[in-house]
């Protein structure tokens, strides 16, 4: 019960923080909308062609975008970790009897919540432009994306705790993010890619999530690709959380 209370208290705090950072909010809302406005027009001529079987490119592009948003929302969390490490907030909270899990996970869960909000706005804006929204598929997709945020968030926080300073942290995280994003098909489906790229992509967890997103978004739920994505992401949730808690208990000094 104490743990649940700590989770609620700390989650509330993190969630409200975001509301008090109008610039962060504005960027969070506008990023996906900018992709929608300034990137999808480039794809229009591909509609019905390779990689874009539907007559509306949004049906393929938007689910990929969701994977991108979730990935980024988690992987940037470490910046916040470094700031709160530097101004002593992490130390201060660690000396309280608050649950260690609640301390570690509350910023990540707040990211999940905000990611859902941003995605809902994106989907709501995309529907009038012809995006075919399958509600059940989208909801399952939101769960999968939440797991992805936990993975990238826990990873990012742990790297932040280990590096303890922005420059190294930023190089590591952006150095890893770029190939992961390019090899996942978030912007253009990898079905258009040469075989070697598709082979490498199979080692990329985000690839599974993006594939599953596209299938879910088309309304199919019971599907082996979707199952595989949950399996891969779920396994990574356990692995990253285990790593994060170990580092969190020891390395904050």
């Amino acid at each position: 019960m104490k743990v649940l209370r700590d989770f609620i208290l700390l989650f509330k705090r993190e969630f409200i923080h975001a509301l008090r950072m109008p610039t962060w909010l504005a960027v969070g809302i506008s990023t996906p909308l900018l992709y929608l406005a300034l990137y999808t027009p480039l794809l229009q001529k591909l509609a019905g062609g390779p990689g874009f079987p539907s007559s509306n490119v949004l049906d393929v592009f938007l689910p990929g975008m969701l994977g991108y948003l979730a990935f980024m929302s988690g992987s940037t969390e470490g910046y916040g970790t470094i700031f709160t490490l530097k101004d002593g907030q992490i130390e201060r909270l660690r000396v309280t009897p608050a649950s260690r899990y609640a301390l570690l996970l509350s910023p990540i869960l707040s990211d999940v919540a905000w990611m859902w909000i941003f995605i809902s706005i994106l989907v709501a804006v995309a529907i009038p432009f012809g995006f075919h929204a399958h509600i059940t598929g989208l909801l399952v997709s939101l769960v999968l994306l939440a797991l992805l945020v936990v993975v990238t968030g826990a990873f990012s926080v742990t790297v932040a705790l280990l590096t303890k300073e922005i420059a190294t942290f930023a190089s590591i995280v952006s150095g890893i993010s770029l190939p992961v994003l390019l090899l996942s098909g978030v912007l253009l489906p990898l079905s258009m890619a040469p075989t070697w790229m598709r082979i490498i992509a199979h080692f990329n967890p985000l690839y599974y999530v993006v594939n599953a997103d596209r299938i879910l978004s088309a309304g199919t739920i019971w599907n082996s690709t979707v199952g595989l994505a949950f399996l891969v992401t779920g396994g990574l949730v356990l692995a990253t959380l285990l790593w994060a808690t170990r580092v969190y208990k020891k390395a904050v000094a």
């Binding site: 104490k2 992490i90 000094a253």
Partner: protein, 326 residues
């Protein structure tokens, strides 16, 4: 009763840097205990180990009767900690932050409200408690941070460099408030590299250097160990004269130590009042013109100098820390 006890407490970084080296410590309940030493002496590391923030590599420690290594969660219920960087939340108001601190410590909402009002009075937070903390001045922020540390009425409060970065007036105010806290029964364990702060504030203090306590006792006891006074001279002429003078001083049996401090020469003598006339006669005979002369009773810096061979003032001024805190 000792509220904090440590036996052979040790922290080793990178397998070889002994940041804290077999430290023994006994702190009595209800006093202000000052931990004085230069940056890098291991003060913060000791504090962090006792506050359950970093693992103890070897040795034992208890805080409020709880074993720090075996039951860190129990320790946390009895302590407050205000780090060098405080940890106030810039995006929250002081009141909100205090509320969170109370709730995380398991206080009920009625108690939280009552306690916040108390702290607003004690630490004089009224004017800004409902403003976002990012708008606070340094002194206001520090007061809020102390309030956060004592929100749950801990038995032991750890304060790491409480007045670093504060102007003298704010420091003095904080001293008053720290004493008030002590008078309500809280044991306060503070680190500082300010001699004046350690001297004025601590009921008892330990001087730390290179991971070890080099002296412990009340300020008066420590100064008495020096058993002597210091005399500070400056001369009318240039350096050559000083060196000659030093040689002369070193020949005098009643001068225990002579050291050049910038343009001054400091002597340690057993009894300053007796030595002064003697010294003046000596200098007069050698035709050395004295510009100024001052007699002083021993300070904590003299204690530090005696124990370590270095002056704390110089250490603090020259070495801006060798990575003790982060």
């Amino acid at each position: 009763m000792n509220i904090v006890e440590a036996k052979k407490l040790t922290k080793v970084y990178n397998g070889k840097i002994r940041a804290v080296d077999e430290l023994d410590l006994e702190i009595k309940e209800g006093q202000i205990f000052g931990f004085l030493g230069p940056n890098g002496a291991g003060k913060t590391t000791t504090l962090r180990m006792l506050a359950t923030l970093i693992p103890i590599d070897s040795g034992e420690a208890t805080v409020a009767g709880q074993d720090v290594r075996r039951h860190p969660a129990n320790v946390r219920r009895h302590i407050g900690y205000v780090g060098q960087f405080g940890g106030a939340d810039g995006l929250a108001t002081g009141r909100e932050d205090l509320m969170l601190q109370g709730q995380l410590n398991g206080m009920n909402s009625q108690d939280v409200k009552k306690r916040i009002e108390e702290l607003i009075d004690v630490l004089d937070l009224r004017d800004f408690a409902d403003r976002k903390c990012s708008t606070y001045s340094g002194g206001q922020r520090r007061r809020l941070e102390v309030a956060l540390g004592i929100m749950h009425r801990p038995e032991v409060l750890f304060l790491d460099e409480p007045t670093t970065g504060l102007d003298p007036q704010n420091s003095a105010n904080l001293w008053v408030q720290i004493r008030k806290l002590r008078d309500t029964g809280t044991t306060i364990f503070l680190t500082t590299h300010y001699l004046e702060e350690a001297d004025a504030l601590s009921d008892e203090l330990a001087i730390m250097d290179h991971g070890k306590v080099v002296a412990q006792g009340t300020s008066r006891e420590l100064k008495q160990q020096i058993a002597g006074d210091s005399v500070l001279f400056s001369f009318k002429n240039d350096k050559v004269n000083i060196i000659k003078t030093m040689q002369l001083f070193k020949k005098q049996p009643y001068i225990r130590e002579a050291a050049i401090e910038g343009e001054h020469v400091r002597l340690y003598v057993k009894d300053g009042a007796e030595a002064l006339p003697e010294l003046l006669r000596l200098l007069d005979k050698e035709n050395i013109a004295v510009k100024t002369m001052a007699l002083s009773e021993p300070t904590l810096d003299d204690v530090f100098l005696r124990k370590t061979g270095r002056s704390l003032r110089d250490t603090v001024a020259n070495g801006k820390g060798n990575g003790e805190s982060k």
